[in-house]
């Protein structure tokens, strides 16, 4: 077999080993690539060599140091992220002296089960290839004008994403978006702005919707878990408000999502000004493609039915059974119905993410147990008080800015897992409602519009190759401002009406 160099190709093993010799020996490539790992180690070493500051226990100091190191590693990624999760587990045993079994137990709870279940469910749903049907449904409702199609894409993506999570919907809708773009023109240059508008309609539609329901994103499940873990006391009926149920969350958050959808379309069109105001050419061809599929098959009806059953399960039973159980039941139902193979699920889910969330939540719980979260919260409050961030809307804005900054640099679930204990303690110390501050944190974690890595939906649409990283900045800051204003208004005006 002829290769590119004219001779046979080297095997993969050879090429890797030769690269290693070349770089490791010749120019420190290895250390350059991993520099942030060593910087994190150095930071950890320096921080631990001091005596704990006043009000912080030694254990608290260790947890805090580990959190700082983990954040550095989460953001810079010198080693694979699941490796960071494993280091957290090792650190909890070796540095903090916890029982190995205790650490292992702290890794699994309903939030983690929910993340696992919803990922399996996501693969099952995306595998059903309902994308063409959904695309057809959208354009039948909206007609052919670009603005209306984009609004339709955002609202449909959003409504679906608010229930089954943004990654599922972004993955399902991406082919639809690209198809509309490529059917309009073959030359990527000609449809650059159109591609940006359509693809961002998908990703931002999903992002603003992820806050809508507890199952919209792992971060929501994590916050619900923290409320229960930190404030719920079975013997005290006053603490029952901290058991957030599905409907109550929706009452708080769903209106915010609905208000944001038209704003998304508006911002996108003002920013990108697409070349094509009408998509009829693409839609005619889309119709031809959908017609080839023929009528809906039995399997497709069954999968839609299962999907709605899972939704009902979340709404009606998540309080008693846990959201994780419902998600896992849904995944298993797809397996039983034979609509998805285990191999597909196994290949389609990156299990490292489950590990990552588990370790981040475990670290968050340790932050609370050792008092580190309270100490950081107090320090933040002391720093914020002089600038008016010690209470009320100033505090909410501070929490929101902090969360937005962190979530743009790392996975939003991990951001909530690490920040949650701190901001909830801040609320407690400042005499604010932990529910409101928790909501502000969970909702702000969706404002990762600025970077490709911010939210799953952004990463997925970026993989299409049509977008530049700078596009996210150009349009993202407008989205951040709009979303922050809407959220703070809701916190000040709307949430008191529904009772906090």
């Amino acid at each position: 077999m002829v290769s590119e160099s004219g001779s046979t190709e080297p095997t993969a093993v050879e090429s890797i080993s030769s690269r290693f010799d070349l770089r490791l020996g010749a120019n420190l490539y290895y250390f350059w690539e991993k520099k942030w790992f060593f910087i994190a180690l150095l930071v950890g070493f320096v921080l631990l060599s001091f005596d704990p500051p006043e009000g912080l226990t030694r254990a608290g100091q260790i947890v805090l140091t580990m959190s700082i190191m983990a954040t550095i590693l989460f953001v810079t990624e010198p080693i694979p992220l699941p490796g960071v999760a494993l280091l957290i587990i090792i650190g909890e045993v070796l540095l903090m002296g916890l029982e190995s079994t205790e650490v292992a137990k702290s890794l699994m709870n309903d939030s983690v089960l929910f993340i696992m279940g919803s990922l399996m469910l996501a693969v099952a749903v995306v595998r059903q290839r309902l994308d063409k049907r959904i695309a057809w449904l959208i354009v039948r409702m909206t007609g052919t004008k670009t603005t209306r199609v984009c609004f339709g894409i955002s609202i449909v993506s959003g409504v679906l994403a608010s229930f089954i999570g943004e990654h599922t919907v972004a993955a399902m809708m991406l082919p639809v978006g690209i198809l509309l773009v490529t059917l309009t023109s073959d030359d990527p240059k000609e449809v650059r702005s159109l591609a940006a508008v359509i693809l961002f309609s998908i990703s931002y539609g999903c992002s603003v919707a992820g806050i809508g329901t507890p199952s919209g994103g792992a971060r929501n499940a994590i916050m619900i878990g923290y409320w229960k873990e930190f404030f719920y006391d079975p013997t005290n009926p006053e603490t029952f408000v901290y058991l957030m149920d599905y409907a109550k969350w929706m009452l708080y958050a769903y209106p915010m999502f609905l208000i944001q959808v038209p704003i998304v379309t508006f911002i996108l069109f003002v920013t990108f000004r697409p070349e094509h105001r009408d998509l009829s050419r693409a839609i005619v061809r889309l119709r031809a493609q959908v017609a080839e599929e023929g009528p809906m098959k039995a399997g497709e009806w069954v999968s839609i039915g299962l999907f709605f059953l899972v939704l009902l399960g979340w709404i009606l039973f998540s309080q008693d059974l846990g959201m994780g159980t419902v998600a896992v039941s849904g995944a298993v139902a797809f397996l039983i119905a034979g609509l998805v193979r285990w191999e597909d699920i196994n290949n389609g889910v990156n299990w490292g993410v489950v590990l990552l969330y588990a370790a981040a939540i475990s670290l968050g719980v340790q932050m609370k147990d050792t008092g580190a979260a309270a100490w950081v919260a107090q320090s933040f409050l002391d720093a914020l008080a002089p600038i008016g961030g010690g209470e009320g809307i100033g505090l909410w804005a501070a929490v929101s800015v902090l969360t937005t900054a962190i979530t743009n640099m790392m996975s939003n679930g991990a951001a909530v897992a690490v920040l949650g204990p701190i901001v909830l303690n801040m609320a407690d110390l400042a005499g604010e409602s932990p529910i409101v501050v928790g909501f502000v944190c969970a909702v702000s974690s969706a404002f990762a519009y600025l970077t490709v890595v911010g939210t799953p939906a952004c990463t997925i649409v970026y993989s299409s190759g049509f977008l530049k990283t700078t596009d996210f900045l150009v349009v993202g800051w407008k989205m951040v401002i709009a979303s922050t204003i809407i959220m703070l208004t809701a916190a000040a005006v709307y949430w008191p009406l529904v009772g906090t």
């Binding site: 077999m1 002829v2 290769s3 590119e4 160099s5 004219g6 001779s7 046979t8 190709e9 080297p10 095997t11 993969a12 090429s15 690269r19 070349l22 770089r23 010749a26 120019n27 420190l28 490539y29 810079t76 694979p80 990922l119 996501a122 693969v123 995306v126 595998r127 290839r129 994308d131 063409k132 943004e166 990654h167 599922t168 972004a170 993955a171 399902m172 991406l174 082919p175 690209i178 073959d186 990527p188 493609q289 389609g348 889910v349 990156n350 299990w351 993410v353 990552l356 996975s411 970077t451 490709v452 890595v453 799953p456 990463t459 997925i460 993989s463 299409s464 190759g465 530049k468 700078t470």
Partner: protein, 333 residues
């Protein structure tokens, strides 16, 4: 390029070593769809016009992975896209590059076409290449590669198939991602680490000749020799430059230029102009370089550690110049 045939995937034959052919001039052109990268390609087409030159067009696609996408592997979506008949990103860019090359005079005639697929761990679609060979044995390769990041992909490609020259555009697409201060631009990273000459195209225009900068060192002399051969490939004129730090070292600079001139003339080529300004090397080189197609510098030969702490003229010029820069390095074998 879309005729991916999963059933006929053949793993590379084990034990076979790719022996780079000594005499062929091999150019790796990295494209990303930007105008800059196609300008680099046009220049590469002139350099690689002869029968003894091969050109490989490379598009590096970041590997689809699910950690960033919230745990759902992007491949799940990718499979749906292929089901719709949508191509992978990059294929359009590669085809455009191929058509550009084919249009240029040297690429006329019949070409045999062969498609090669290589599995890559963690990506269902792997690396794909189409090799075009003409009757004289000249090869044109389109390669769609997956890698963890673009710079690593380019360097891996070099490791596998050893090139004499890497051409890439200083494209905005490859600028460091916003908010990631620790990630240098792709072009810079490749220029630092590639074990061969690297041409970074910026507003590259043909016909203004090469400006070779020398500091009189043995390494610089060698670079002069290498570049004289490259310049001869495209019939580009050669000018020489050596910067004196102060008046006292002016004679030394003049000596450097004279030596380089002697070397080039002994190879049978001409030197158009020579310059020996006094001042800061970086500023003078950038200033004078505006009038040329290319600024040619030799690799400093410092180790990576020293380069990291001390910086080097070559790297600084690469960072700051508004024009194309080529860093010349002896190709490692």
């Amino acid at each position: 390029m879309t005729q991916r045939t999963p059933d006929t995937e053949e793993p590379a034959e084990p034990g076979a070593v790719s022996a780079p052919e000594e005499k062929r001039f091999r150019i790796l052109v990295c494209i990303d769809g930007s105008e800059e990268s196609y300008r680099g390609l046009r220049y590469a087409a002139r350099l690689g016009g002869g029968v003894d030159a091969d050109i490989c067009l490379l598009y590096v696609r970041p590997v689809d992975q699910g950690l960033r996408s919230g745990g759902l592997q992007v491949r799940v979506a990718r499979e749906n896209m292929l089901n719709w008949g949508l191509e992978l990103p990059g294929i359009k860019h590669l085809e455009k590059g191929r058509d550009m090359l084919m249009r240029l005079a040297s690429m006329e005639g019949d070409w045999d076409e062969e498609t090669i697929h290589r599995d890559v761990q963690g990506d269902p679609l792997g690396d794909n290449a189409t090799v075009y060979t003409n009757a004289q044995g000249k090869r044109l390769i389109l390669k769609l590669k997956v890698a963890s990041d673009i710079a690593s992909g380019i360097l891996e490609q070099w490791d596998q198939f050893k090139y004499d020259l890497i051409v890439l555009g200083a494209s905005a697409n490859w600028a460091p991602a916003p908010l990631s201060l620790w990630d240098p631009a792709v072009a810079e990273k490749v220029a630092l680490y590639a074990p061969c000459s690297v041409l970074v195209a910026r507003e590259l225009e043909e016909g203004h000749g090469h400006l070779i900068c020398t500091d009189g060192s043995e390494r610089a002399q060698r670079a002069v020799e290498i570049d004289a051969n490259i310049a001869a490939r495209c019939n580009c004129s050669i000018s020489l430059m050596s910067v004196a730090l102060d008046q006292e070292s002016l004679p030394e600079a003049q000596r450097n230029v004279a030596e380089a001139r002697k070397l080039i003339e002994s190879m049978g080529f001409e030197v158009k102009d020579s310059y020996t300004p006094v001042g800061s090397p970086i500023d003078e080189i950038i200033e004078q370089g505006q009038h040329f197609s290319l600024i040619v510098l030799s690799d400093t030969g410092k180790s990576a550690l020293k380069r990291f702490f001390l910086g080097s003229v070559a790297v600084k010029v690469l960072e700051k110049a508004n024009h194309s820069v080529m860093i010349v390095r002896e190709t490692e074998s």
